[in-house]
Structure formats: C-alpha cells, structure tokens
C-alpha cells in the first residue's frame, strides 16, 4: 500500500533539522507553498539554506523565515523583488549569505541533480562574473561554463492537485520550479490545493510523477 498523505503541514516537516538545505518552489507569488513555509517557520529549525528563485516579499513566505532569522544562506536568481525588505535588511547587515545563479542555470543545476548528471556546460554567464573561479571551455567556437548539480535535503513544492501516490498537476504558470525541485531533493513534500482520488488525474497531465514525491499534504487554510 502506497500512501504518501500526511495529516498536517507540521507533521510533514518534523525531520527538518537545523542547517538543512531546503528548496522552495514558486516564482514571485505563483506556485509558492505558503502553508509549508509557515509550518517550517513554526517548526523553528535555524541555520537553513533556502534555495528558491526569490527571497520573499513583505512579511510573507520566505520573508518571514528571514525575519525570524532562521536562514543562514539564500541560493537564488532574483532576491531583490519589490518589497523584499527583509532580504535587503539582512544583506545590508551582512547577516545573510547570498549565492546568486542565473535563473536558467539555477533550474538546470537542479534538473541535473534530479537526473543523475555530474555537470553540464552552459553558455550562460560565459565571460561574466558568474564564470569566475569556474572551469570554462570553448566547444565548436563558443564559450561555455561548467556547472554542477544542485541538490537539497528537502524540497517544498506546491501543486494544484495531487493524489496519494504523490502524482502532481499544476495550475497555469504555478508549475515553474516545482517539478525540477521535486526531482532534486532527498525528501520532497508537496502542498496541494486539492487532494484527489487515485486515477482522478489525467495521466498525460501529471507534470510531476509520484516517484519524485515523498509526502503529500492538503492545504489547511492556515494562511
């Protein structure tokens, strides 16, 4: 019997330890697992590395983790959205470490981790600061940078619908980083708007097959 459902956001995160690396899906306010992030904040493990495209706005989501000073390092492509006050404040204080990665390389590094690849050559960032200290190579007359896989202890993702095997389907542009993160982490926890019966998802619309997902939790309306 395969049943990955967990009764609450809180229970789904009990084994997150201080110092864990946690991927968090979403882009801007789209496809973000807000309830899991809130549960992570309440869980209270600190010294976290947060791997996510943005660094939160206002007092919401990742911004609340920053405000509570649970985060040691942010790995992202765009930390500076309008209203990212907590990130800016901590950065100015020198209280947070930042690893900045071009967005396509960021997604591809996570895919490489999920796909068991050892690294890849990308033209992105060649000849720029992003290539400093990295191996570069000319291939067929074009410059490339060698990039390595990016994995994590946990991935927190959000889907529109999910079933008890962990199959996930997304709403419109809410997909974004969620599928690659689900592949790349040791333990993937999915927050779903709707928990559906096995067989209810169209097998051709499942964007994250259940094999990539360890735990599924229905939204509780806690935000």
């Amino acid at each position: 019997m395969i049943d990955k459902r967990i009764a609450s956001m809180r229970e789904a995160l009990t084994d997150v330890a201080p110092g864990s690396a946690v991927m968090i899906g979403g882009f801007g306010s789209s496809g973000i697992p807000f309830e899991l992030i809130e549960a992570l904040r309440q869980h209270g493990a600190g010294d976290l590395t947060i791997i996510s495209n943005n660094a939160g706005v206002a007092e919401e989501g990742i911004a609340a983790l920053l405000r509570d000073r649970l985060v040691r390092k942010v790995v992202c492509s765009y930390p500076r959205s309008q209203g990212s006050i907590w990130f800016e404040r901590l950065f100015e204080e020198g209280a947070i470490e930042l690893e900045l990665i071009p967005q396509g390389t960021f997604a591809e590094r996570m895919r490489a981790a999920g796909a068991g690849l050892g690294g890849f050559f990308t033209p992105t960032g060649y000849g720029t600061k992003m290539a400093e200290g990295k191996e570069t190579r000319e291939i067929d007359g074009r410059g490339y940078v060698l990039e390595h896989p990016l994995s994590a202890d946990f991935a927190l993702v959000r889907a529109h619908k999910g079933d008890r095997w962990g199959n996930l389907a997304y709403n419109t542009a809410g997909r974004n980083f969620n599928p690659v993160m689900a592949m790349a982490a040791e333990v993937t926890v999915a927050e779903v708007e709707h928990l559906v019966e096995l067989g209810d998802l169209n097998p051709e619309s499942v964007a994250t097959p259940g094999v990539f997902v360890n735990r599924v939790v229905a939204q509780e309306g806690m935000n």
């Binding site: 801007g28 967005q103 591809e108």
Partner: protein, 214 residues
C-alpha cells in the same frame, strides 16, 4: 536634441518585430513594446516563468493568482498558449528557439557586450534573474534604453564598466536618440530620430559610431 519618450522608443522598436515572431520582453521599458506591435501581426510572447502566449492584463476580479509574468504582474493566456516548467522555459531561451529578446540595459559596449544586471554599488544586493540566459540564447537581442544616464553620461561605451550580462550578444540598440546596429565593422547608426544630427548623437556616445549611409 530631440529625445523620444519611453512610449515612442517602445513604438519604434515594435515596428521591427516581424509577424510570426516568438518574443521575450524584459522587465521595465521592454514590456511596453507589446502595446505598439502593428495590427495584423501575430506575435507570441514568452515569459521565463513558463508561459508561451502571454496575453493582456486580466479584467479586475478575474486574476488567476498563479498566472503572472516575469515582472510578477497578473496576465492572461492567449488562445493557443501553453505552460511548462522553468527548466523547459530556459531550454527554449538558451537553445535559440526565441526570435527576439528585448532587454533593458545599463551599458552596451562597441563589441555588443551588455551590462544590465548589476551596478558597482556593493551594498545593494545583486539580482540577475533570466537576463544572462536570454542574452546568450535568443536569436536576436535588442536593447531598449536611454542613450545616456540621468546625469548625461554615455551608456554606449568602448567597454562596459559595470559587470557584464553577456559578451558580444547585442544585435541592435534602440535609444531615445537613434537606432544602432552592432556590426563586425563597429556600431553602425541605422536611424537618427527626427531632429538629431549624427554629430549630436556621436557626442552623447562614449565610443565611435559609424554614420548612417548617405
């Protein structure tokens, strides 16, 4: 000198978006280009967060909270549009499948290097987003920017002083003064906006320009 307004700059660039193009418009002035593409041209807009076929702003109250563009504004999907994940979205860019990327710029060099993601202010956190991937990936990169900074310093230079986004990536520069093409021979002025002489535009530029064909 005559300076185009941002709307006029966007309108000028929009004339050069051919029918049937796949286009990515950067945050800021570039997104305005969509408002000025001539009627009758089918243009499909790509958004880095996984949309092909970005449509106009939704009517108030009809917003889908997940359906936003790269600038995090609510958008719609046009008929024939589709969704995909970020890895595929950047495969589309990096793999040369998009015809045109319109990007903003802090500086462009004579060799077509682009700087548009970080200044030299170390205290201000840097943010790169998808700019580097777009700059190396699109078949043609058009930069839409003012010709000079607010305090009159040139933004088109022998070499960029700000950190680079990509090297040798810019095809054309659309400014409030002129349209300039990056060629092997140098920066070729292809159009001077009404009322501007070549000498005026050259004087506002930090590197040598080639005058338009007589």
């Amino acid at each position: 000198m005559q300076r185009l307004t941002p709307e006029q700059m966007a309108e000028r660039l929009a004339q050069d978006i051919p029918d049937g193009s796949y286009v990515n418009l950067g945050i800021g002035m570039p997104v305005m280009v969509a408002n000025f593409v001539p009627e009758g041209r089918d243009v499909i807009y790509h958004s880095e967060n996984g949309i092909l076929g970005v449509g106009p702003t939704p009517a108030p109250g009809t917003e889908d909270p997940d359906l936003i563009n790269a600038a995090k504004q609510y958008v719609t999907l046009i008929k024939g549009g589709c969704f995909f994940d970020t890895a595929e979205s950047f495969a589309m860019m990096r793999g040369g499948h998009l015809d045109i990327a319109v990007l903003g710029g802090f500086q462009v060099s004579a060799a077509g290097d682009l700087a548009n993601w970080a200044t030299d202010n170390e205290k201000y956190p840097p943010a790169v987003g998808g700019a580097m991937d777009l700059s190396v990936g699109a078949k043609a990169v058009y930069v839409l920017m003012r010709h000079t900074t607010k305090d009159g310093q040139p933004k088109i230079l022998d070499e960029c002083s700000y950190p680079l986004t990509g090297t040798g990536v810019v095809r054309r520069i659309y400014t409030d003064l002129a349209v300039i093409e990056v060629t092997d021979a140098g920066l070729q002025v292809v159009e001077l906006h009404d009322g501007n002489s070549f000498e005026d535009v050259q004087a506002a530029t930090g590197t040598r320009l080639l005058p338009p064909a007589a």
